[in-house]
């Protein structure tokens, strides 16, 4: 008879272990949530170096305030609020700082997606993709901040609209409106390349 497959521990159990003094349990929490933390921060700051620093600070803050978390099962949303608050504060008083060993952490190039992998076999498609990417970057920069944030957090990072609303300090209806207005403007700005 085969032994039962070990299911990963829930966030709630890991948090309970952390609060009892098991430091390695929080390391597992870091591994689980770091990608989303960095992604949310990156979308708000637009700079990966800053996003990595802020994410590190967010995990430290979360670790220190773990005993204040009302519902351990909702750790992810709680952490994202910390990340977004720190990111928005950082954005307001923008300064560049870099204490992480970034060369080790940042790999060359960008995360591979299915489109990028396919484009490798088709140079024309790769070039067109790069041109589109550049134009999109410029177009996003022209959007008002809330529209850009709403589109990136909701459409790209696929955060729930309720969570996006908390991050942007607005209602869910406002998030829908920001996404719509942002897309409408992008449609206009990118009509030549789409």
């Amino acid at each position: 008879m085969e032994p039962p497959v070990n299911e990963p521990e829930s966030d709630a159990l890991l948090i309970e272990r952390t609060l009892r003094g098991d430091r390695s349990a929080f390391d597992e929490i870091i591994r689980r949530h770091q990608r989303q933390a960095v992604a949310v921060s990156y979308r708000l700051l637009g700079n990966i170096n800053d996003a990595l620093e802020v994410s590190q600070d967010a995990f430290l803050k979360a670790y220190r305030s773990l005993n204040t978390l009302q519902s351990p099962a909702a750790f992810s949303g709680w952490l994202m609020r910390i990340v977004s608050n720190l990111s928005l504060n950082f954005r307001r008083g923008r300064k560049v700082r870099s204490q992480l060993p970034l060369d080790d952490i940042l790999s060359a190039g960008e995360e591979a997606g299915s489109d990028a992998a396919a484009a490798e076999h088709d140079p024309a498609r790769l070039m067109a993709g790069r041109e589109l990417g550049e134009k999109l970057k410029l177009a996003l920069a022209q959007l008002p901040e809330k529209q850009r944030d709403a589109i990136l957090l909701f459409t790209v990072e696929q955060l729930p609209q309720k969570q996006v609303a908390e991050i942007l300090d607005c209602s869910v209806e406002a998030v829908k409106w920001h996404v719509f207005q942002g897309r409408k403007k992008l449609k206009e700005l990118l009509k030549d390349v789409m």
């Binding site: 909701f154 719509f180 897309r183 409408k184």
Partner: protein
């Protein structure tokens, strides 16, 4: 439904954010309205372009996790050390703060005294070397002693004492006078 509302609905439809009845109504509209279908295609394309062309920079996640973990350990160790040092630091910083206030107060007080004339004849606010002469009665083989007359405005004897401490190791005899100084060339103001 006006065109603007239709576009808004289509944007939400792309995101799967419409309730069931709104979806049903919109799909009927889309079936019969080519312009609405064209609009839907445009919004779907924008959503796909944004999703597919905003990648996250590639990151070594293992290294990042290690780095975050290490930084937490370091921060916690530092916090424990600070807690241990805190009582001593509080006492030391309190004493330093009081001393700094006293020094700043003295400095301001002296500055005000030196810049506010008590005698209309006194035009300068700092001590001036009124006369420098070598004492001729001293034996040539011994150390030569210079006599320095320093005129202290307002007879600031405390400041004179400080100047005396400065000049004493340099084999000088200091004579301090008070009152309006004679006009001397600046080249003698060597301190």
């Amino acid at each position: 439904m006006n065109p603007h509302d239709l576009e808004f609905q289509i944007s939400q439809y792309v995101d799967g954010q419409l309730d069931a009845s709104a979806v049903a109504a919109l799909e009927i509209r889309l079936r019969d309205d080519a312009a609405a279908r064209s609009l839907l295609a445009e919004y779907q394309q924008v959503a796909a372009v944004v999703r597919g062309n905003t990648p996250l920079p590639a990151i070594n996640w293992n290294r990042l996790a290690e780095s975050i973990s290490t930084s937490i350990d370091a921060a916690e160790e530092q916090r424990i050390e600070q807690r241990f040092r805190m009582p001593w630091m509080q006492v030391a910083s309190s004493i330093a703060a009081v001393a700094a206030c006293v020094l700043i107060g003295l400095f301001i007080f002296r500055s005000q005294e030196m810049t506010s004339p008590t005698n209309s004849n006194i035009a300068v606010s700092k001590p001036r070397i009124a006369e420098v002469s070598l004492a001729t009665a001293e034996p040539a083989a011994g150390p030569r002693i210079a006599e320095v007359t320093i005129d202290m405005p307002n007879d600031d004897t405390a400041l004179a004492a400080m100047v005396w401490d400065e000049l004493q190791p340099r084999n000088t005899r200091v004579v301090v006078t008070a009152g309006a100084p004679p006009v001397m060339p600046d080249s003698l103001l060597g301190y």
